[in-house]
Symmetry: C2
Subunit: 134 residues, 2 copies
DNA sequence: TTAATTACCTACCAAGTCAATAGGTATTTG
DNA sequence: CAAATACCTATTGACTTGGTAGGTAATTAA
């Protein structure tokens, strides 16, 4: 029951980009240094954020990444779904998991659905801007 | 971000024991059959519930397990803590994890604490009795 | 007393995930 | 041309997951 470094690092990168958002591009080398995260590892996490158009990057000297929207327009939920794959607390509710043949009689399923809703609401109602301003 | 079969199966066993609670002992072979869970696997999950005195078992023919309290006196939280080890949604908040040296400057830590509280409250306010009666 | 049944115990295993590291290539700027 | 950057793919060691295998000890019914 843990959110992995992939998702947590992605959020920290987004916050860092929001904090240093002057219209230009921020090199991931700087972000990695400030956040004390391996640059090489970050480079493996970012592509999914780029292809989902949450950030955009340009190559070459002076290049880097920048946000494509305002910080308050990113929900934590969408970042985590991209990087973690799913926010379902149990396999039965994951879109990847196969349908369980006990779903109509399972006494625990309603509880998992309730929890899933709680967690999803929590993350969808929290934005990058909420985390920058504190 | 998933609760594993260990915790989920433990809860289902507790519910099953509560449903067939006539004062006597219920053989795990029956529970495994009803719940469609491998008996051998269940036998590996149960010892922690026994040593924490959530259930008690007696050996030999006619033996089995039974609850030591009333169903409404078991919170889902305590069952999951025993079987999953921890309910912290991130390593930084786990009792097992080492202390993070960014904890005083981390912009995300307050959010993880908030989520952790939400999840713990959810599980601590839900009992086995809540799941049996529906 | 014996056979059946049960909890209880330990070792093992295959597959997958996690958290990186390594070693590049392509692109752009000064 | 050199430096800096994003971008790409393969590999790896440690760990977790979800079991299986093969027993032993205790108890009861026949």
């Amino acid at each position: 029951m843990k959110i992995s470094t992939r998702g947590r690092y992605a959020i920290r990168v987004m916050i860092d980009l929001a904090e240093h958002n002057d219209g230009g591009y921020t090199a991931m080398r700087e972000v990695a240094e400030r956040q004390q995260i391996s640059l090489k590892y970050l480079e493996r996490i970012l592509p999914v954020l780029v292809s989902a158009k949450l950030i955009e990057g340009i190559q070459g000297k002076g290049g880097g990444y920048r946000l494509t929207r305002k910080p308050e327009e990113y929900s934590i939920g969408e970042i985590l779904v991209l990087t973690e794959g799913d926010l379902a607390p149990v396999a039965c509710l994951s879109c990847k998991g196969k349908s369980c043949d006990r779903k109509y009689i399972c006494k625990t399923l309603p509880m998992w659905k309730e929890l899933s809703l709680l967690i999803n609401n929590f993350f969808n109602n929290k934005t990058i801007a909420d985390l920058v301003n504190q």
